[in-house]
Amino acid sequence: MSSEFILVVDDESHIQHVVSLKLRNAGWEVETAADGEEALHAMAARRPTLVVTDLQMPYMDGIELCRAMLERPDLCDVPVIVLTARGYALGDEASELPNVNAVLSKPFSPRAILDHVDGILNTPERAA
């Protein structure tokens, strides 16, 4: 799995920290970005296996990031998990994008994020 990594995008450093730790503890390599622009920058250097992103961020928000990924042939099939603190409207808009595999509402459970990552990437079931 050395070339595989998960990109965690959130302007809240606490969230970045907690989600990264949860995924690292599960054996994933993790990179972080504070907004959509930084995330695209990171993805230009290296294609992630999966992206976990917040919806509302400065500079470039989660929906804009997903759309930008869809326009890039090398990134259009990267699955995305969206975290949102907004109500249904933005969550619905995100879930309609073909690369968004799951929309989780904040406050979320780190366990639920890992479950979704495992489900999307067909990771063999972990021992409890």
Binding site: E12, I15, A34, A85, G87, K106, S109
Partner: protein
């Protein structure tokens, strides 16, 4: 006197005319047996006699009538000449019946006049009520002609409300749905009321409104007209939109610290924070996010209390100089941490105002805290205060050498949950601090708040508090 003379002359002329006419009549009856002048003379004589007789009768009956009017009936009859008494009795009977009828008519006439006045006054009142109503009212008769169209209906339907009565419904109401509802309601021949939401007009100018249509029935329970009341929903929709945006923003701001707390707690419970350093990090996150949440809830409640006018205000004589010094002492440690200099430059004048000390302290602390947050390390923050005797207020300023605020954001910076997009990463905030400051200064104290800012150079936030006792609007103990 003049009237009596005129009446006498008129009577004499009438008698003379009658005499001449009588003479002519007699001449004509007797034919040409007598020479013309004789005939005319005889006729005039006969006519004069008849006229005199008539005059006597008229005078007698006139006197009789006068007596009748002024005395009792029996006496009136008795006062008439003997040969006139049977006629007088009949006449008296007639006159009495006529008098009774005349009284009844007069009563009826007065009654009708009163009713007409009441109806007119009711109509005027109804018209006045319809004219001042916000709701549009349209009444349409069974021939689908407009009977009533008040001013609000004229505005909503874009027609001349005064010229509308008498015109066909289709001329006044362009919207086919509204026309259909009105016609269908009349056709249904029932007292039921129909309601529907409509968009009147097209495109961006379309107005959302709620139509309530009912029938007016006549005395035989037949539909004589339909009345449509149109309620403009624009303002309600705007308020609903504002509420929805507020709930959405508030929910976002509440969920953000809550997510960090929940995630950290779960990680700790699951034993995912394996080393002491990570655990301490998580405890720290939980603590700061709990404080952020508490602050957010406090700010939201305070703003909403001020807006609702139910906040308790402890209004006393407040020395703003002391308040500023206290605020500087509170924020000093944060400024020192960033290597910033923070000091108060207070004018040596009376800085007393009438207000709530804790609330004013909160305003200064919020402004200083923002200045520290958005000023780079090593920056300079100065608090100033001076009195403006002309405007009878104390003027406070908080000047920093920070990032400054982009011109496009300056006008919106005091709005609820508004944050300069590019500065979200610079510092955390609830987006409510400045809104609370504005409420405290303007709503509670009747002062003013504002700012001047140059991008990249810094900002100067200022506020004024009136010196004298100000009865703040809409604030109850």
């Amino acid at each position: 006197m003049f009237q009596t003379l005129t009446r006498t002359m008129l009577s004499a002329t009438a008698f003379t005319a009658a005499a001449v006419a009588g003479g002519c009549l007699v001449s004509w009856l007797l034919g040409s047996a007598m020479p013309w002048p004789s005939l005319v003379g005889a006729g005039i004589a006969a006519g004069t006699m008849a006229a005199v007789a008539l005059a006597v009768v008229a005078r007698s009956s006139g006197a009789f009538r006068a007596r009748l009017e002024s005395t009792r009936t029996a006496e009136a009859v008795a006062s008439a000449p003997r040969w006139l008494r049977p006629t007088a009795r009949t006449l008296v009977g007639c006159l009495e019946r006529m008098a009774v009828r005349e009284d009844a008519w007069k009563t009826r006439e007065r009654d009708l006049e009163i009713r007409a006045r009441v109806a007119e006054s009711g109509r005027e009142q109804a018209e006045a009520v319809l004219a001042v109503m916000d709701e549009a009212v349209l009444v349409v008769n069974e021939f689908q002609e407009v009977v009533v169209c008040n001013a609000a209906a004229g505005r909503l339907l874009s027609c001349d409300s005064e010229a509308a009565p008498g015109r066909p419904l289709s001329d006044i109401v362009q919207d086919s749905t509204l026309r259909r509802i009105i016609v269908e309601t009349m056709d249904a021949q029932s007292t039921g009321v129909r309601q529907a939401e409509l968009m009147l007009g097209e495109g961006a100018d379309a107005i959302a409104c709620e139509a309530t249509v009912g029938c007016i029935l006549d005395q035989k329970d037949r539909v004589s007209a339909a009345v449509a009341v149109l309620h403009d929903l624009t303002r309600e929709r705007e308020i609903a939109q504002m509420k929805s945006e507020f709930v959405s923003k508030a929910s976002h701001e509440l969920r953000t610290p809550l997510s960090s707390m929940r995630a950290c707690v779960e990680m700790l419970v699951d034993g995912e924070a394996q080393d002491e350093g990570t655990r301490e990090d998580f405890y720290g996150i939980i603590q700061t996010e709990t404080e952020r949440l508490a602050r957010l809830v406090d700010n939201m409640l305070n703003i909403s209390r001020i807006e609702a006018g139910i906040i308790e205000i402890d209004r006393t004589r407040v020395d703003l100089g002391s308040v500023l010094e206290q605020a500087v002492r509170t924020i000093e440690p944060q400024a020192s941490e960033k290597g910033q200099t923070l000091h108060a430059d207070l004018s040596p004048v009376d800085l007393n105002v009438s207000g709530d000390c804790d609330m004013l302290l909160q305003v200064v602390v919020n402004l200083l805290s923002n200045a520290v947050k958005y000023t780079p390390e090593g920056g300079r923050i100065v608090v100033t205060a001076d009195s403006d005797n002309l405007a009878r207020c104390v003027h406070v300023g908080v000047q920093d050498t920070g990032l400054g605020i982009p011109p496009a954001d300056v006008d919106r910076i005091f709005e609820k949950f508004y944050r300069v997009e590019n500065y979200k990463r610079v510092a955390k905030g609830t987006g409510l601090g400045l809104n609370l400051c504005r409420h405290i200064v303007e709503t509670v104290h009747g002062g003013q708040i504002g700012l001047e800012s140059t991008l990249g150079m810094g900002s100067r936030f200022w506020f004024t508090v009136p010196m004298g006792r100000v009865e703040a609007p809409r604030v109850a103990a």
